[in-house]
Subunit: 199 residues, 2 copies
């Protein structure tokens, strides 16, 4: 039961991270000067939108299961389905980590870079925890679920510190964007809205 | 029943496209001179690997259903699950189309560009066909399945001709790679294997 509460907390957190990430990336799409940049970030955002759609079903489901302690009442087929859904979101966390790492190469300002890297670090921890929980659950329910194929091992690129590697990346479109949360009085900050004129 | 045969043909084709795409992209990862390029193509390939893993289960399942005309025997829950799996692969086709389009910006040689664009065109047609079939099926089985959220509409970037837009993209790492299928006699072509020395 505790496993499902932990999973609920993790997937609820990643939902709020998706929102935050979208807020950071959308201005890049709006300000993009070429089709490649626009397609690249649009693509990343669209994949996160799809993930959000799936999480909007999974998170309440996990919440109900945890709150009402209903997992014992699940049929084999329901349990198998649930584990398969969680496994898909395990990959989702892994892919999100890479979306965050890729985005580090776009931004030069410390604040955004720290936000992205903070989400990356927590997302990686969450991913590893889901991996552990899934290993435990698939052992416990080995009669209904065994698929634990991994696609994340043996790749050197997963060991790279992309915050460091991206420190000297060339300036991208993000260089023309300033996130002004609290503009100085009487001075209009450059906001997402005002950036649309750059297109 | 015909719908499931068509779906089987589409997902079987996309499996062979994934193999072809991987053969084109892996040399880019092997020859990448910087961490960003390596991460970028590694990420795309990893997502396609995950899709391949799912298709390796779905394709034989669809084949059995079509061959043994078993769809009428599926329980509501099994049918709902099947439609949900097919819907996930509908997004998979859409995302693959964008992976192909993004890759067009890497390659300058006509042969590879035509191969990528050919797969892109057929993948888009397949995507639209799966969308049509899903609309039909979810109407027919509206008591068990209704989720047909779309994430692909209202985006101008989907209307862009990326073959044209990428024609003058700057030379990337692909410029150092030559695919020599049939090297001239006595002359050793630059192959994927020989590229590893470039790292």
């Amino acid at each position: 039961m505790q496993d499902f509460s932990q999973l609920h907390a993790i997937f609820d957190r990643t939902k709020s991270y998706i929102d935050r990430f979208m807020g950071i990336i959308q201005p890049i799409i709006d300000a993009a000067q070429d089709e490649h940049t626009r397609l690249y970030y649009h693509h990343i955002l669209e994949e996160e939108e799809q993930r959000m759609g799936r999480l909007q079903e999974l998170v309440p489901h996990l919440e109900t299961l945890s709150a009402e302690k209903k997992t014992d009442q699940l049929s084999d087929r329901e349990l198998s389905q649930l584990l398969s859904d969680i496994n898909l979101e395990r990959f989702g966390l892994h892919n999100f980590r890479e979306h965050l790492e890729l985005s580090l190469y776009e931004f030069r300002d410390d604040e955004t870079r720290q936000t992205l890297d903070g989400m990356r670090e927590k997302t990686h921890t969450d991913y590893l925890q889901v991996k552990d929980i899934m290993a435990k659950l698939s052992e416990r329910f080995s009669d209904v679920y065994t698929d634990l194929t991994d696609h994340d091992e043996g790749h050197d690129v997963h060991q790279v510190d992309h915050l460091k590697a991206s420190a000297n990346a060339p300036q991208g479109v993000a260089s023309v964007i300033t996130h002004t949360a609290t503009p100085a009085p009487g001075k209009k900050g450059l906001t997402v809205g005002s950036l649309k004129g750059l297109k």
